[in-house]
């Protein structure tokens, strides 16, 4: 059957996340971006809504089932409030969900409950590398088997909250394959940059460079154990998450510029009454809906184990990257000069919008 309406539980979650996004995240987004810091209370309040906890089975300390569909619904809704805030609240999922998706039973039992049953703690993950041709399937960071250990070497960037993270997932190239490893903070050879990194946006989300110099971890810390795992489902779950976040950011920009266009007078009419602007808005709304549909279907394919789930997730992400840029750019254009002024939120959404091309690994559902 085809069906396009969230179920009752999902709708309740969407409503709760929507309240948080509108009442909590959005009001602090501007100052958080300017000051480079989110109020900690906001993060814990977001965590307590239990979006991640609800996608973890009871056996591992949660109270639900993993569902990428539910995940993308929540992600869109929260990003509508603020992208940096959403990524901050959801940072622990970067650690938990890869273990849930690809870990052994022991790994799940050992690592998931301490994160899920506690207050928000910055468990995180390190995938991205600081190179224009970064490719998650051909990492420069290496893992080499050595006796009972793996030895990791390389440098990672864009690692949220790395400085305070008790542990992180590190992705590395093992014999040509991207594999994930659970790396505790205390291990020798792991160093985190002193200063938070500087990006075009997401200033409220502290991210760090992480250096791995002959980091030795036991073989048991490889996700999936000795046999390892297929990294593709993890990448796919990241792509649909990013696509959903892009839809949320784009929707925020679309609605703001639509409302502005209905207020602003030009030549005796509202600017929205000019076809040039009205057509902009019509196309923005159409593209948002188009990518939302692709994202939902891809998430549904991941949930149902469809053969082409990986491809569908990649396509949704590729479409979302272009859509987010187009929509946020036009939102700025519709506001004209005000679009360029930081007092208004649309220029930040445009800076967010460009980022989706580089965010693979920064979110997961």
């Amino acid at each position: 059957m085809y069906s396009f309406e969230p179920n009752e539980e999902q709708q309740m979650l969407i409503d709760a996340v929507s309240r948080f996004a509108v009442n909590d995240l959005r009001p602090v987004a501007h100052d958080a971006e300017e000051e480079g810091k989110l109020p900690p209370k906001i993060i814990s309040k977001g965590w307590e809504m239990g979006v991640l906890q609800a996608s973890i089975p009871e056996a591992y300390g949660g109270f639900g089932e993993h569902s990428a569909v539910t995940g993308v619904l929540a992600a869109e809704e929260m990003a509508y409030g603020d992208l940096a805030g959403t990524l901050a609240v959801m940072t622990p999922s970067l650690f938990v969900l890869p273990i849930l998706l690809a870990g052994t039973e022991e790994q799940k039992k050992q690592y998931i409950p301490p994160v899920i049953e506690a207050d928000w703690q910055p468990y995180t993950a390190a995938l991205i590398e600081y190179a224009f041709d970064f490719n998650a399937l051909e990492l420069r960071t290496t893992a080499v088997a050595d006796g009972g250990d793996y030895v990791l070497n390389g440098e990672k960037t864009f690692v949220p909250y790395a400085k305070d993270a008790p542990a992180m997932i590190v992705y590395a190239n093992l014999d040509g394959q991207t594999q994930a490893f659970i790396v505790p903070k205390t291990v020798a050879g792991l160093s985190v940059g002193e200063e938070a990194e500087k990006w075009m946006s997401l200033k409220a989300l502290p991210t760090y460079r992480v250096k791995l110099e002959n980091v030795r971890i036991p073989k048991a810390n490889r996700l999936g154990g000795e046999a390892g795992h297929d990294v593709k489902p993890i990448l796919a779950a990241s792509w649909v998450a990013l696509a959903a976040l892009a839809v949320g950011v784009a929707r925020a920009a679309f609605e703001y510029s639509r409302d502005y266009a209905k207020e602003r007078e030009v030549f005796g009419v509202k600017v929205a009454q000019k076809q040039a602007i009205a057509f902009f808005l019509a196309e923005m709304a159409t593209e948002i809906e188009a990518i939302r549909m692709l994202t939902w279907e891809a998430a549904w394919k991941l949930d149902t184990g469809a053969e082409d789930g990986y491809k569908a997730a990649y396509l949704a992400y590729m479409g979302a990257v272009d859509m987010a840029m187009m929509v946020t750019d036009r939102a700025v254009q519709i506001l004209g000069g005000y679009g360029y002024i930081r007092e208004y939120p649309v220029e930040m959404w445009m800076r967010n919008g460009r980022g989706f091309a580089s965010f693979t690994g920064l979110a997961i559902v």
């Binding site: 059957m1 069906s3 309406e5 179920n7 224009f132 929205a272 196309e283 692709l294 549904w300 396509l315």
Partner: protein, 421 residues
């Protein structure tokens, strides 16, 4: 409710059969039909007529439920429009020009279905289940009135002495107008639905549809257009000079209610239902083109490497990925719009959005496909150049891309036609 993307079983079965039809009865004669404009694909028409008679499928407006459902039987969600959208997509994948000459009444029957009384439906629609394939057509456009239907000049005046409507005017771009109105031994007797004003001072409120039967004096097919594509489909010009039809050939109320624009809204309601269906035909053409490209690339050992960052894709890979994104998104928007129609959810926005998107997707994909395939794309030895020509109509008929953008914009802004012109 839930979020699901599983093709319902009856639809999957239908598609399996239709694919055979599309391959063996459409693709096989596609080129011939294109090179011989206005040739009639009798084989396809007769086959479809027989098949539709046997299965009851295919009318643009789904049949109303005949039997009361057994109360104990679990009720299945309605999928009538979803089945139609899939059917049209597959037939258009076969050949969209030939699909347009599928018997069963097309838009003419859809207008009757949407606006007629039960007696009128019986009178006008029963013929489509008859012995011979039969056509009907919708006459809206005039030389001076396209998307702006308030500019329609055709009039219908009631002759109270004979209780007949007298219709005068000139209609153009009538799809299947020739097959509906010019007698042909192979076909049943068709009709056209002509949109005319019963009160020119009332604007759109005065607009009504009138059923005019084949053979009615005063109706002449004056021209068959020569077109860029969809050449198997006849596009007729029809002149109406003192055409007299019985009183009960008017669809909807014969009195003018100036406040409500009811008459016109009936016509527009037809479009809410048919826009995603027309969008579906565009998606079918686009899919044909994209499949051709991927097949040729595969033959030449070019594999699309899904999963790479975009700065490491080749130009061709990037193009194919963009085309796949567009095609799938466009199709899902169609499915959502018809799913809403099936579930009686108001879908004016989704319906127009799906048409906006399909118009873009269909033209962009076919244009890019010809570009990518070089001489193979431009050659008449393959069908790709034909699909490029066929595709363009998707962004024009059933409301141009621009008119549909206007409708989407009005919906999202909460503006009336007067506020956003």
């Amino acid at each position: 409710m839930t979020i699901e993307f599983e093709t319902p079983k009856p639809i999957a079965q239908q598609q399996y059969v239709l694919k055979t039809v599309a391959e063996n009865m459409m693709r096989s004669v596609s080129r011939e039909m294109d090179e011989n404009e206005h040739a009639i694909p009798y084989g396809y028409i007769e086959f479809m007529h027989a098949a539709m008679k046997a299965t009851g499928a295919g009318s643009l407006a789904p049949k109303e439920e005949k039997k009361e459902e057994d109360a104990n039987k679990p009720k299945r969600p309605p999928i009538g429009y979803q089945m139609l959208a899939h059917m049209l997509e597959m037939l258009a994948w076969g050949d969209v020009g030939m699909y347009l000459v599928t018997p069963g009444g097309g838009l003419g029957a859809a207008a009757v279905q949407a606006a007629a009384t039960p007696e009128q439906k019986q009178k006008f629609l029963a013929r489509f289940a008859g012995e011979k394939p039969t056509f009907a057509a919708m006459c809206m456009t005039e030389p001076g009135a396209g998307s702006d239907t308030s500019a329609i000049k055709t009039t219908a005046v009631l002759d109270e002495k004979t209780n007949e409507w007298v219709i005068n005017g000139e209609k153009i771009f009538v799809t299947a107008g020739h097959k509906s109105m010019v007698p042909n031994d192979q076909f049943g007797k068709g009709f056209i639905v002509v949109w005319a004003s019963i009160d020119p001072s009332a604007g759109r409120a005065g607009m009504r549809g009138f059923v005019i039967e084949q053979g009615t004096p005063g109706v002449t097919v004056t021209k068959l257009e020569h077109k860029m594509g969809i050449r198997a489909s006849d596009t007729a010009a029809i002149s109406l000079v003192d055409v007299r039809v019985p009183f009960d050939h008017v669809l909807g109320s014969p009195t003018v209610e100036k406040q409500t624009e009811k008459g016109f809204k009936k016509a527009m309601a037809t479009f809410d239902a048919t826009r995603p269906l027309v969008a579906a035909t565009g998606i079918g053409v686009a899919r044909a083109a994209l499949e051709f490209v991927k097949e040729k690339l595969a033959e030449n050992g070019i594999e699309i490497r899904y999963g790479l960052p975009c700065n490491q894709l080749t130009s061709i890979e990037r193009d194919v990925i963009d085309m796949e994104v567009m095609l799938r998104a466009g199709w899902l928007m169609v499915i959502k719009a018809v799913w809403m129609a099936d579930n009686s959810k108001p879908n004016a926005l989704e319906s127009s959005m799906s048409k906006v998107k399909a118009g873009d997707v269909t033209t962009k994909i076919t244009q890019k496909a010809v570009e990518l395939m070089g001489p193979l794309g431009y050659s008449r030895e393959f069908l790709l150049e034909k699909w490029f020509r066929d595709a363009k109509i998707t962004d024009i008929y059933e409301g141009t891309g621009q008119i549909n953008r206007l409708i989407v914009a009005r919906q999202i802004l909460g503006y009336s036609g007067a506020e956003l012109r």
